[in-house]
């Protein structure tokens, strides 16, 4: 950190460092500094989110188009949105089901298409591989492995018949594939969590350390 920092920049860095160290202090034991930082985070997030939604959705997508462009029909989704608040009044909470019905119907329609067209069909197609992949014996072996893995894992999740005999043996093969997948996920998760720690450590070392060295 070569350039000289202003008072505001120093303050910002020290505030961030205080919050980071307060949250890390939980690793030693629960304490008041940790609780305070946690509450500040929760409160700030909620406040920021409400403000953001008010500006980007209510004002930009509802009020402005109605007032400036005369899109009066937007009053209907606006009413549906207001009806959601009837959930706060027990006697009238049933009215919110009208809005929920619209949201559920709309969402189901969108998600069914995107799931089938964008996820299930392409993924199934990529599982149906030719044994002659053009990558020699290793390619053929991998293609077979994908087929065995998919089928055995699906059978593990087939609960309409007891897992005995051939079905049970195949399901046990499926468990191996599931465990290997869990292992890969866990390894990546460890890597991800360490990365977050490294990010904060780099801030403390380079930025807070830079501020410290300028002050003292």
């Amino acid at each position: 950190m070569g350039e000289s920092l202003s008072f505001v920049q120093h303050f910002e860095i020290w505030l961030r460092a205080y919050l980071i160290l307060s949250l890390f202090s939980f690793l030693y034991r629960d304490n008041v500094f940790y609780k305070l930082s946690e509450h500040i985070f929760a409160g700030l997030s909620a406040g920021y989110y409400v403000g953001l939604i008010w500006q980007t959705v209510i004002i930009q997508q509802l009020v402005n188009p109605m007032v400036d462009n005369g899109h009066w029909w937007l009053v209907f989704p606006g009413i549906l949105g207001v009806l959601m608040f009837t959930r706060l009044i027990p006697k009238w909470s049933w009215v919110s089901r009208v809005s929920l019905a619209f949201v559920i119907g709309n969402t189901a329609g969108i998600y069914i298409i995107s799931s089938l067209h964008g996820l299930i069909f392409p993924q199934v197609a990529s599982t149906i591989l030719s044994l002659d992949t053009g990558n020699g014996f290793a390619g053929t072996l991998l293609a077979l492995l994908v087929v065995v893995g998919v089928i055995s894992t699906l059978i593990y999740f087939y609960f309409s018949k007891e897992h005995t005999g051939l079905l049970g043996a195949t399901a046990r093969v499926g468990i191996w594939f599931i465990m290997i997948a869990f292992g890969a996920h866990f390894g990546y998760t460890v890597m991800g969590r360490i990365s977050l720690l490294i990010g904060r450590a780099e801030f403390l070392y380079y930025e807070w350390g830079g501020s410290l060295s300028q002050i003292f």
Partner: protein, 275 residues
């Protein structure tokens, strides 16, 4: 109580301390662990590099500040790559907290280095709620979803947006995400509108994404800080991901050591108990 029994009951705070030392040590003594480029990262780099100079690309900042250590280096490396090829960059975020402001700060910082001008070379659309609706809406009209940019300037007043109306005007979408939005960029924007999508995701999200790459639905993938370091290496910059990989590798070695010692302790203790 012997050594192996003691290992079984060690106070976890000693482990935290060792991890902390392993994280800070490479910042003092630079170690330069090797960084291999994976085929998925190379595929993403080559897809962007193959675009003609001046192409319009979309770069998403779909991540919370908590994931910045992994994802921000990807965004920075991608912006340097894109600006070095004089591409027009359209940024947006499907995450309310952090994403839009990170996009604004990072893009403007990198743009300064390449003498790029806001509104002509890059535009930050900001955030809009309900990303599924946003992704569908951008296909017909960007302006209908984002009437104004992050700062409130109407899109019609931005020169770059006169030629960028919907997905048809965008050559490539680079999704940087720490959550499930990337699934929808694939299942909606790639599958239904045919736009090539590449992604840089946090390590937690990465394993699931490999099936999209294998199926040809995703054009390249960066996974976690390692993926970010790979992209930095290909763009030929020395960023925070490359710097962080020393600590990452050292902590991984430490975790492997803990797993071996923990298991040895378990089996040795079991042998003594006769269980």
């Amino acid at each position: 109580m012997g050594f192996w029994e003691n290992i079984q009951h060690i106070d976890r705070r000693w482990i935290y301390l060792l991890v902390a030392i392993a994280v800070f040590f490479p910042m003092i003594v630079v170690m330069h662990f090797p960084i291999e480029i994976t085929p998925e990262a190379r595929q993403l780099y080559e897809a962007i590099d193959a675009l003609p100079n001046g192409s319009v690309v979309m770069l998403t900042f779909d991540y919370y500040p908590s994931a910045m250590a992994e994802t921000q280096p990807m965004s920075i490396a991608a912006l340097r790559h894109m600006f070095s090829k004089d591409m027009k960059v359209l940024t947006l975020s499907n995450i309310p907290l952090g994403g839009p402001s990170i996009a604004e700060r990072v893009t403007r910082e990198i743009a300064l280095e390449y003498d790029k001008v806001y509104g002509i070379d890059f535009v930050n659309l900001g955030y809009k709620a309900n990303y599924v609706a946003v992704m569908h809406g951008l296909a017909s009209s960007i302006e209908s979803i984002f009437p104004s940019d992050y700062s409130g300037t109407p899109l019609r007043d931005l020169p770059m947006m006169k030629h960028v109306k919907n997905y048809r005007d965008i050559e490539f979408i680079f999704v940087v995400a720490d959550n499930a939005t990337v699934d929808y960029w694939i299942s909606i924007v790639n599958a239904q509108y045919g736009k090539p999508v590449g992604s840089g995701v946090t390590a937690v999200v990465a394993p699931k994404m490999y099936s999209f790459v294998d199926a040809g639905q995703m054009t390249g993938l960066l996974g976690g800080m390692k993926g970010a370091a790979e992209y930095e290496r290909m763009v030929d910059i020395s960023g925070s991901a490359i710097r962080g990989m020393d600590a990452q590798s050292l902590v991984h070695l430490l975790v492997i050591f803990f797993v071996i010692v923990g298991n040895l302790g378990f089996f040795m203790s079991r042998g003594k108990d006769g269980r």
